[in-house]
């Protein structure tokens, strides 16, 4: 049986034996505080988002989200254990309590929010699904892909959108689905598939990180779906969800208010009441969340604000060279909008 099947079995046992966990809200927050660290489910290796280096130390956009939460909780961004999960493993891992949250480019959908027993933190990346093909094929658009063989990761929204798109356009395709990302990408680059489809940000990451010559491949212009990517926690664990949610909002609010990793110490002395409230100069916010009053200060101090994290791992100065686009602040024409911290 596959690893996945074993995980399923483990889930069955975990849920079966799990003596009905305490009914009060926030078992995860209590558990995390007691353990002195969080367990974060990330991808098995996508350049820019989450990738281990030669020492096995993870870095990337999604990793910094986990580091920010760790910093807000413990004043230390490195109290995180990273668990690499494939698309098929991630949900059982979260359901069974193997990880405390997923920060791995999971698309927010109704079914996952309800039937799978999850809750979503705010969207941290607005993405859309695209196709990558080799230039040799001379394909200019997704509508020309009739009859193509397409590599796609199983158990993703991508897999469903692919089928939907070809059905809607009355085209035929043959999927090749392989759970392990390495094998899937290798299959595409060896020519087993005509096209590789996933979120366009991940396509860019794969092109940069895995292609022997990135210029041999193009990403087709069509975006066939909305892919709002957000961290995921278990349903009904409200206090924990609040912490994850507001740490992310603090990173976004930090960018809007101009609070950056470098100037956060000066900003902490700022007399602007909204900034004072956020950085703990005026107490109350930390207590409301069940955290130290320095929670937002620590998070931004450790990883920088949302814009800094984006630029460092995904932006134009990074190898991925992604535009901010929808992921710019609402004040700059994007969709990133944090509710007031008060």
């Amino acid at each position: 049986m596959s690893v996945r099947a074993l995980r399923g079995l483990a889930l069955a046992l975990a849920i079966g034996f799990g003596i009905a966990a305490s009914a009060q809200a926030g078992p995860t927050l209590d558990k995390v505080k007691q353990a002195g660290g969080i367990v974060c489910g990330v991808q098995t290796g996508v350049a820019g988002f989450a990738q281990p280096d030669s020492q096995g130390k993870y870095s990337g956009f999604n990793v910094d989200i986990c580091r920010a939460i760790s910093a807000a909780l413990f004043g230390d961004p490195d109290k995180v254990k990273y668990v690499p999960l494939t698309a098929q493993q991630r949900f059982t891992a979260l359901q069974s309590g193997e990880v405390d949250l997923l920060s791995n480019n999971t698309t927010l959908t109704l079914q996952r929010d309800t039937e799978l027993g999850f809750d979503f933190a705010p969207v941290v990346f607005y993405d859309g699904q695209g196709f990558m093909v080799t230039k040799k094929l001379n394909v200019k658009g997704a509508k020309e892909l009739n009859g193509a063989t397409v590599c796609v990761a199983p158990g993703t929204t991508t897999e469903l959108n692919l089928a939907d798109y070809f059905r809607a356009n009355k085209m035929e395709f043959k999927p090749v689905v392989i759970e392990k990302l390495d094998e899937l990408v290798a299959a595409f680059f060896s020519g087993r598939c005509d096209a590789y489809t996933t979120d366009s940000s991940a396509l860019a990451a794969v092109r940069v990180g895995r292609a022997s010559n990135p210029d041999d491949y193009i990403i087709l212009p069509e975006r066939i779906s909305k892919e709002p990517l957000a961290p995921v926690v278990r349903h009904g664990d409200n206090q924990w969800r609040d912490v994850v949610t507001w740490v992310i909002y603090a990173l976004m609010e930090g960018e809007e208010k101009g609070i950056a990793q470098k100037n956060v110490d000066e900003m902490a002395k700022n007399e602007d009441p909204t900034i004072k409230r956020m950085l703990g100069g005026t107490p109350g916010m930390g207590k409301a969340l069940g955290l130290d009053e320095k929670w937002a200060y620590n998070a931004i101090k450790a990883v920088g604000n949302y814009g800094e994290i984006f630029d460092k791992h995904l932006g134009l100065s990074s190898p991925l060279k992604l535009e901010r686009g929808y992921n710019n602040l609402w004040t700059k024409g994007g969709l990133i909008y944090a509710p007031p911290i008060r």
């Binding site: 996945r4 099947a5 069955a12 098929q88 079914q111 309800t114 027993g117 089928a163 999927p175 759970e179």
Partner: protein, 395 residues
């Protein structure tokens, strides 16, 4: 009265707690009760926890639209079909590769097992190298190896190799022409079935006649002629209708004809070669288990080497071979679930995707387990029936 005398002679009954029968029953009741109790506790707790976490449960999802594509299928399937249909696609793919694998592994394994006993040094050593190599490398690695070889060494479809007219080999697999359906074909199939029956009849008749009169009849050749000849006659009687569906390059890939994907090919080759290396050893052991005196006796009676093997050695060897062979068949079937590694849509692969899209892992795992259990028990049943028919009947 007799019964009274017997009662008087019987020793006094021990108290119930010292009575082995009553104690045995009590222990069994306690054990079954404990197992049922733990089971009920688990089921109850699972349902409660699922509900608390707001995770859906039940098998209702099977009737919903699957909405994902499957690469290869023996039955009609489109993303508009239900999860249940998708599950059936996976099941037929598993059964297909397992059935084909069992037949091919038996043939290859028998040949290799006989080769290991060959009097020719080179043949013997080559067979030994084969067995020792493939038996000792994990199957998963072998699958990756064959898959890499099949998709890595072949050219893209537009530069496909063409070893025979209308047969193309590319990194999308192999495609070859397939006869289009014709009204003659069902009749040919019927003729084939009649041929099989007739061949069995001839064999039976020849055997009884030989037992009675000692006269031999070439029932093998006659049966072969009947099985192949009858369908051929029907085919000719219909005017030899043969319209081929010839594959041709259209857009990205070949359309028309039929074929085999690199994933299916790699899985089949991997399973067959791996399992056959074990079967070879079983066959060798089975033949060696028949004492040499049997062969000497056969030679003394003037049987040819072929007859000796067929009539004297193999029937006795089969008694040793069949039970471990059953394990190999079961192993091959279950190992086919490694298909997920290389992306062949077998039962586990489809069920995995289903579980992930619906989040209903427990139901999915239960279905996988039930199906493999059913397949394994079926194989076991048939092998045990066959084993009984070849086993030594003691009089």
């Amino acid at each position: 009265m007799a019964s009274e005398t017997a009662g008087a002679l019987r020793p006094k009954r021990p108290p119930p707690w010292n009575d082995p029968t009553i104690r045995g029953i009590a222990y069994q009741v306690l054990f079954v009760g404990a197992v049922l109790g733990v089971g009920a506790f688990l089921v109850h707790n699972t349902l409660q926890n699922l509900q608390r976490q707001n995770i859906a449960s039940g098998f209702g999802f099977l009737h919903r639209e699957a909405a994902f594509g499957i690469g290869e299928s023996l039955i009609d399937y489109s993303p508009a079909d239900t999860y249940f249909r998708a599950f059936l696609v996976g099941l037929t793919n598993t059964l297909y590769v397992a059935a084909l694998g069992i037949v091919l592994a038996t043939i290859l394994g028998t040949v290799m097992g006989l080769a290991r006993l060959s009097s020719n040094w080179l043949v013997r050593k080559l067979a030994q190298i084969y067995v020792e190599t493939f038996r000792n490398i994990p199957l998963a690695l072998q699958l990756f190896f064959w898959w890499g070889l099949l998709r890595g060494s072949a050219p893209p479809p537009r530069q496909a190799w063409q070893p025979l007219p209308d047969v193309f080999i590319s990194n999308r697999g192999i495609v070859f022409p397939m006869p289009l359906h014709d009204p003659a074909y069902p009749w040919m199939f019927l003729a084939f079935a009649v041929g099989l029956l007739a061949a069995w009849g001839v064999w039976h008749w020849a055997r009884t006649r030989q037992a009675r009169t000692g006269r031999q009849f070439p029932s093998g050749w006659a049966g072969f002629g009947l099985i192949l000849g009858l369908p051929l006659l029907v085919f000719l009687a219909f005017g030899a209708p043969l319209h081929l569906d010839v594959p041709s390059l259209k857009g990205f890939n070949f359309s028309g004809g039929t074929g085999m994907s690199p994933e299916f090919g790699a899985l089949l080759i991997g399973l067959v070669i791996y399992t056959a290396s074990f079967i070879a050893e079983i066959v060798r052991a089975g033949i060696l288990a028949v004492s040499w005196g049997q062969s000497e006796a056969a030679m003394a009676l003037g049987l040819t080497p072929g007859q000796r093997m067929r009539l004297v050695v193999l029937p006795q060897a089969l008694r040793v071979i069949i039970p471990p062979m059953t394990s190999q068949y079961l192993g091959l079937t279950k190992n086919s679930s490694l298909a997920v590694l290389i992306g062949f849509p077998d039962l586990v692969s489809v069920a995995n995707t289903t579980m992930n899209q619906t989040g209903q892992a427990i139901e999915g795992i239960a279905m996988i387990m039930a199906v493999y259990l059913a397949i394994s028990l079926t194989i076991s049943l048939f092998m045990n029936l066959y084993n009984r028919s070849v086993a030594l009947v003691e009089r």
